[in-house]
Subunit: 380 residues, 2 copies
Amino acid sequence: MSATSSLSALPTPSLLLDERKMLANIARLRDRPALAGVALRPHLKTAKSVEVARRVLAGGNGPATVSTLREAEVFFAAGIRDILYAVGIAPQKLPRVAALRAAGCDLTVLLDSIEQADAVVAASAAAGAPIPALIEIDCDGHRGGLPADDPQIIEIGRRLHTGALLHGVLTHAGESYGVLGAAAHAAFAERERHAAVSAATRLREHGLPCPIVSVGSTPTAFAATDLDGVTEVRAGVYMFFDLVMAGIEACRVEDIALSVLTTVIGHQRDRGWILVDAGWMALSRDRGTAAQTVDQGYGVVSDIDGNVLPDLIVTAANQEHGVIALRAGSTAGLPAMPVGTRLRILPNHACATAGQHGAYEVIPAEPGAPLVHWPRFGGW
Amino acid sequence: MSATSSLSALPTPSLLLDERKMLANIARLRDRPALAGVALRPHLKTAKSVEVARRVLAGGNGPATVSTLREAEVFFAAGIRDILYAVGIAPQKLPRVAALRAAGCDLTVLLDSIEQADAVVAASAAAGAPIPALIEIDCDGHRGGLPADDPQIIEIGRRLHTGALLHGVLTHAGESYGVLGAAAHAAFAERERHAAVSAATRLREHGLPCPIVSVGSTPTAFAATDLDGVTEVRAGVYMFFDLVMAGIEACRVEDIALSVLTTVIGHQRDRGWILVDAGWMALSRDRGTAAQTVDQGYGVVSDIDGNVLPDLIVTAANQEHGVIALRAGSTAGLPAMPVGTRLRILPNHACATAGQHGAYEVIPAEPGAPLVHWPRFGGW
């Protein structure tokens, strides 16, 4: 069967993954000369799939970043050993962390307070084995972390070094998602580098170890030119990309490897609407392009073969209904699309859209190969 | 264990369901005198749980509405037989519909075009058994459906009556979600009634049968005073309610039966932020209150016992991080909340938030009874 006839046979809505585009995105970051001297620790929170992890991690099971302990458990069960849980640790989660470590998973946690450091020390004592932790540094006011010059960093470092394992520092320039173009992303990359390296230097000046200096986000990983002092770079959404990343020029629309296959179920011709069976349950409620230069609604529409259709976007979404219309101000004509026509919707935010689905229907990189079904998982 | 100590032992984030509140919401609609003469066909798209269905359907397995064929399949397997699939039918889905009907499920489809009617007629012929369909009527310009005076209704009715089963008409005032107060909801209820009954009358005047006249939405079901000519009422989110419904006065905040249990993982004290482990993956990206009088961010914060905390809302959400802060303009003080503190977040949109979780952790209506785990499902 051709790709189009295979896609015609899938139930809708379904989540499609173009493996060729994904592999190109993975290679583009992996092969950046600026990253030659550092480790790449891809974030698997977008993927949540062992099959994707195999293709994005160094050697198929190299260092990984996760956003939930469930991800750590699933990926460890699949043979991935070096895992960073990059969300500030809740003390109640430490028994699960200790159990994973006791089973052989080299799991590292993240924290930014003395309370958390004391909890990690107590859990290390309870487990009879030190739990490694990174200290989160705030480089841009986005979310968690301590400023690089905060005296608590030293106190946290001391406590971890004494009663657990002080592995180093981590920062993430989440604000880089809000700025346009490689130069702006490179400026955030330098903020990441400067904050993380400054904090690491202070720890070392106090006689504390800091083997890991971890930075990263998709925009900064692709734009960084100087990683002096950095030991590892993290990035996640880049393996799929999405309209938010295209909107800040971190990728092109044609690099986006994910889409939602949908079927036309009706029309409101007087209003210029085409109704499809992909609503927000299939697309997610993410409206990440709303604040960008071009608002893509709930997603950009392409035909079944992946060719973007001029000015057609999903302008509204109910639970299981999407409304496709021309973007405001368009002079394009609304194409004739009989009931039953199949379309693909490119997502605003790959992490959110993928999170609505239980599997990827994969268009293999090998031309003419049949579709493949890759399960994905959720939960915590 | 007390409820609080049971909740302290759950992993976070978890989806909590207060069964007592749910049963009260269910009873409140079921017992409305205005609905005495009509059937109630609850929509199970919010619940996606056999345990919830048992408690909301008449007799535990009475008539139901669903938004996906997967819901139809799961609920039919649980013994629920009379099911309306209330999303416009895609022709490609008709073999699954026919298979469910052949297995004994009394499944009805919805359509609003001659193309779809012809597809249902063809599928009925292929199956050797007529497939029943309702014609969707548009009462408020919200989504699908034909205007009640559209001549196509008669042509569709003729084709269905000849080659399939014409079961009647359906309408849904989705725009009722955007207006405030019972009087405004009652006006939309009358638009639903008028549109559906008008279309039914026209079909009958043309000698066509119209046994079912189906209307409904949560706001209109609670506000309707005159249902003359209507045979059934549908509503879905009312079993749980949410902040969007509270914002239009379809319920009180204290009626909301769903919440997301979360744990404090950090602070940015200079910015007045409390960070928790419920981000948009646990809360959904739904910002349905953004356009209402009071914007509740990503949700209202209560303590572990369910007491709403003054002016505290989730002001921002990343994938696995929520930021709790005082709402803009508040003069309340930020409460001290050490790392490890447990909180509950009331959802903007119950359908979307529940959709992010694989199960309900149920606080039983019976005082002192232990927590119960009810699986929920997703997919299509």
